[in-house]
Symmetry: C2
Subunit: 160 residues, 2 copies
């Protein structure tokens, strides 16, 4: 007979329950608001935006709104200590560019996103949705998943 | 009668099982190796160390080995775009200093560490152990917990 108190998980150990939960949470439920800049933005202005918006990663879009790059604090720090005039150099010079970006879609799981962050050693992933521009396949940035998003989710799961 | 298949958790729902697991993992089990520099190190050398060691946060120690500060990519980026000569300025000028540091101990949990990271909006926590120097209470850095540590643990928990 099935016990009347508590819950019963047939054939599931605690590890199974935890991984099932982590894989059931969708990117769409946890994504944060991305800060986007244009590719003509100077490195200096990008750094100022980073501080004003208090984020670690900026997403770079083209005039049509499609994602073309990602720029991290690390990219900006590297050029800032060089001899370049960072008020003249555009972020397009230092950003990681499509199609080399690691991205995630709305229907992927929190687990998928965290795995990509860890495996590709990046701080943040753009959450993308396909968009067609003049017959070309491009991508719109509809959110971001960062290491902070994962840490917040972890804390949420740990609350009793 | 207790069922013979699967597991039975009296009075525990999935959320309880997950939070119990997250709170049972100790900092001592998951801590990573910290990169330490001396407080006399120049900002420029600190940035170079950051790239060479491929880390986001450096821990600053005094001559006796005790922790005196933490310096982040954000701190370094802020001074790098200023007019200071970063080869002359020591990191002690830009670091967050004891006793304003957010720290964690070996016996605290992964949950405690993640909560501190999220609440205090820091990238990394030094794992500290008390040490006595000339009758004064100081702290040794025996590890670090970063957002990356939490993301890796999250992925580990999500593996089936």
């Amino acid at each position: 007979a099935r016990p009347r108190v508590g819950y019963f998980y047939a054939g599931k150990n605690p590890k199974g329950i935890i991984s099932q939960k982590i894989r059931s949470i969708k990117v769409s439920e946890i994504k944060a608001v991305p800060v986007v800049i244009r590719e003509e933005t100077s490195v200096y202005d990008a750094i100022v935006t980073l501080f004003l918006e208090d984020v670690g990663t900026l997403f770079v879009v083209q005039e049509d709104g499609s994602l073309c790059g990602v720029v991290s604090r690390k990219d900006l720090l590297k050029i800032a200590i060089g001899n370049a005039d960072i008020k003249q150099v555009p972020v397009s010079v230092v950003m990681t560019r499509m199609p080399n970006l690691v991205t995630v879609t709305l229907d992927e799981s929190a687990y998928d996103a965290a795995r990509k962050i860890v495996e590709h050693q990046v701080d943040a992933l753009p959450v993308i949705r396909p968009m067609e521009v003049d017959g070309k396949q491009k991508y719109e940035v509809v959110g971001k998943i960062t290491k902070t998003t994962i840490a917040k989710l972890f804390v949420e799961l740990g609350k009793e």
